[in-house]
Symmetry: C2
Subunit: 196 residues, 2 copies
């Protein structure tokens, strides 16, 4: 019987094995051959799944987005209100090495998305998913009087995206305590009953 290969599953395995290499070395700094070798695959193993490095970056971005969303579901389970809002945002903030690596992939993706409408559309769809979730969380916690829901969501998005830059490029300003405190400064302004 011919061996049946689940190509989607294989692609996920390959991305899972290579995204940290992309995060560490960047797409400019590594050939597909380098990336395959460093992940322990034969030369040519990636090509059938990712014809170009650019496609590999697309899948790497979707992979880190999906794994962030899985973490969000796990860490907000059973929580509500302010605790759920904070837990959700903490999965975007680069609070550990894994999430700092995700930030490095995101920055590489942003730079390409500036001139690639397909990537920009994937990014915007992903960010919209987070905005919708944040709006629901904020509606549940209740906003302070005078704060608009759209502005509150936008401010949180700006802050958590900017933290990707701070965490990767300003190492002395990105301890988990600092990033969480920075978020709390904002949340206290938005949410009734939260204090800085």
């Amino acid at each position: 019987m011919p061996k049946i290969v689940d190509h989607d599953q294989r692609r996920v395995e390959l991305v899972d094995a290579t995204w940290r290499i992309i995060a560490e070395r960047g797409l400019d700094g590594a050939t597909m051959r380098d990336i395959a070798a460093e992940a322990g695959f034969a030369n040519g193993a990636l090509k059938p799944y990712f014809p170009t490095k650019d496609r590999l970056l697309d899948f790497a971005f979707e992979h880190i987005f999906d794994q962030t969303n899985r973490r969000m579901r796990a860490s907000t389970e059973g929580l509500s209100g302010l605790a759920a809002l904070r837990a959700y945002c903490h999965e975007i903030l680069p609070l550990d090495e894994e999430k700092v690596s995700e930030a490095r992939v995101a920055i590489a993706f942003w730079q390409k998305a500036l001139r690639d409408p397909a990537k920009a559309a994937v990014h915007e769809r992903s960010m919209e998913q987070w905005r919708v979730a944040l709006a629901e969380l904020l509606e549940e916690t209740g906003l302070r009087q005078g704060v608009g829901l759209g502005d509150a969501v936008g401010a949180i998005m700006d802050l958590v995206l900017g933290a990707q830059i701070t965490a990767t490029l300003s190492p002395t300003h990105h301890t988990p305590r600092q990033l969480v405190a920075q978020l709390d400064c904002l949340v206290s302004a938005l949410v009734e009953g939260a204090s800085a």
Copy 2:
């Protein structure tokens, strides 16, 4: 008499003429010849001043940083307290086409800085200059009880850097009104007497 050329001055002129082309086309999307041609210079005009595209990006980043600082000095002149703080931040927020172009250069620079310690050092020195200024402005306005100065500065930096991503990649969420309102959400949390 031999023609005397001020090389530093000439370099500034060349960067000033080319940084928007870099913002628009990116470094990947244009050769030095393309950039020179589009700026109306002879092929080879850039080379003596910027031996590589990578060096041109360094100078472009420093150029947009300097011009942002010049705008900050102009727009905060005669202001104090909250008005000065807001005016300062508004020069970083991508509130017009010029500043959106600056954001595009910054994103390209961030991506390179992830793997280039010299660029990361330039970035960190630049951001530290803004942090010091923000701390002075916040000390002048007075912080709400319980808000730490370092956290307040960090939160503003995250938000204004994240706005560079929002403004370039999430076009429906970056009207000047939206970006200013997002900043005001945060400022109201930090500063005594400011309300959202």
